[in-house]
């Protein structure tokens, strides 16, 4: 098994980590809207990874799943942020609506069988912006006395690291795929690596959802 294949499987099965931790903290997670949504989101990711692994086993193109999941993921995470960021709901929903319209338009115009660079990089860009804005909000409000034990700090850090890194990968994915296609595998390794980091951070966040 090559390193690339190992990373794909490791990344796929790392999605079980937040599900297990969320399950362990279920009694706390269920009482809190953002964490409840994040737990459901983790379950979704896990199921999606299972489907992707199963479908790819039969050599079926899974890019359409990634494209559609990119839109759903942004909607879920924006919804989660709408619980933790006060007074910004209208603006958040407006951004989501514009993004969804643009993404669907792009997907309809282009093929769904290749990864949509515009839709996914736009999604990564918006989520990076939101993560940065949340950090600003944290510094302004001093919500927590110990950030390292504050659940949403870890979740937000995971979002920032993952989506800021994959933004560039998605942005240039088409160019590299069609011009330097031998290098695309290394680029996807970055995405898988960041997904592992993201899921670990998500799990840490859900672990700290127990009130300290």
């Amino acid at each position: 098994m090559s390193f690339h294949v190992f990373l794909i499987y490791f990344s796929s099965f790392s999605s079980i980590l937040p599900v297990i931790i969320g399950g362990m903290r279920y009694s706390y997670v269920i009482k809190n809207k953002p964490y409840k949504w994040l737990f459901l989101y983790s379950v979704f990711i896990f199921l999606l990874e299972l489907v992707t692994v199963y479908v790819s086993h039969y050599k079926i193109n899974t890019h359409f799943i990634i494209n559609i999941w990119g839109i759903i993921e942004l909607i879920i995470l924006y919804n989660v942020y709408s619980f933790v960021l006060p007074q910004k709901k209208k603006r958040l929903y407006l951004i989501i609506s514009i993004y969804v319209l643009v993404s669907i338009g792009v997907l309809l115009l282009k093929s769904t069988n290749i990864i949509s660079d515009i839709s996914n990089s736009l999604s990564a860009f918006l989520l990076t912006g939101l993560a940065l804005y949340y950090f600003l909000h944290l510094l302004r409000t001093l919500e927590s006395t110990n950030l390292l034990k504050f659940p949403f700090f870890w979740i937000n850090s995971g979002i920032l690291l993952n989506f800021s890194a994959i933004f560039l990968v998605y942005l240039f994915s088409h160019y590299i795929l069609f011009n330097e296609h031998t290098a695309i595998r290394q680029l996807w390794d970055i995405v898988y690596g960041m997904l592992i980091v993201y899921r670990i951070f998500l799990a840490i966040g859900l672990w700290y959802s127990k009130p300290q």
């Binding site: 940065l132 944290l138 001093l142 680029l187």
Partner: protein, 261 residues
């Protein structure tokens, strides 16, 4: 391979920036929390200083009342008692008895007068009956009679009837400021102004004395209990005060209290 390498380097730079932001948030937040704790400590220490000043003020007032009672009224009553005892023994000599009774009456008059003065200094009756302006007017007149300093009061705009606690606080502040000018300023004239401006009560006490550098006093931490007492009273009323030296001469203290209490 150029674009591929550029993307790899770009991703690394973005990741480094993201890590830097996360670390920065953690450290900056800790620093801010530490600052907040420090501010709380300073605020608590300041509050306790204000409370101490207020208690000291009360203690000084009680001591003054006790001294007045003991030295003036107590002495007068003791003398009266002694006179009456002599008068009792002098009934065989009606002339002496009459003289002693007259003396006793005079002593009792003095005692009554002193009790009135004491009561007046605790809470002037004019404050309840005629309001703050009348009380300050009376205060200015009495202080002018008692001291060699010319004290004037001017009501610059018609004052409405305020709640008693409010009026008493302003009266006490005026008393304290005039007292400060008399004690420390070496002034020959003190003016008290009272008016309403933009829904705020303004009380100004201005003297032509040697002046007072409030910033220097604050920096040296030498702010007296009287001033802390004023500050403590003003805090309750959500008010503030400003010190200044009009034309470089004397001291002008402006007390500002928002109406609507």
């Amino acid at each position: 391979m150029n674009v591929y390498l550029t993307v790899i380097v770009g991703v690394m730079i973005v990741l480094l920036m993201a890590v830097f932001i996360i670390v920065f948030v953690v450290f900056y937040q800790r620093k801010q929390l530490q600052q907040r704790v420090n501010w709380q400590v300073i605020e608590e220490s300041y509050q306790s200083q204000l409370l101490e000043a207020s208690l000291r003020g009360q203690e000084a007032e009680r001591r003054r009342i006790a001294d007045d009672l003991h030295d003036d009224i107590g002495t007068l009553l003791s003398a009266t008692r002694l006179n009456l005892a002599h008068a009792l023994r002098s009934f065989q000599n009606p002339g002496d008895a009459e003289k002693l009774v007259i003396q006793s009456k005079a002593l009792l008059d003095d005692a009554i007068s002193n009790v009135r003065k004491l009561s007046q200094s605790l809470k002037p009756s004019s404050l309840d009956s005629f309001g703050l302006s009348a009380a300050l007017e009376e205060f200015a007149q009495k202080m002018t009679q008692r001291t060699s300093v010319e004290i004037n009061f001017e009501e610059k705009s018609k004052m409405p009837k305020l709640i008693p606690a409010f009026e008493l606080t302003l009266y006490r502040i005026a008393q304290e400021l005039v007292g400060n000018s008399l004690r420390h300023a070496n002034a020959s004239r003190i003016n008290i102004y009272l008016y309403i401006q933009n829904m705020k009560i303004i009380l100004i006490v201005q003297d032509n004395g040697i002046g007072f550098n409030w910033e220097f006093v604050q920096q040296q931490g030498k702010s007296g209990y009287g001033l802390k007492n004023i500050e403590s009273r003003l805090r309750i009323m959500n008010g503030s005060f400003v010190f200044g030296e009009p034309d470089g001469v004397g001291t002008k203290t402006t007390i500002i209290i928002p109406l609507g209490l």
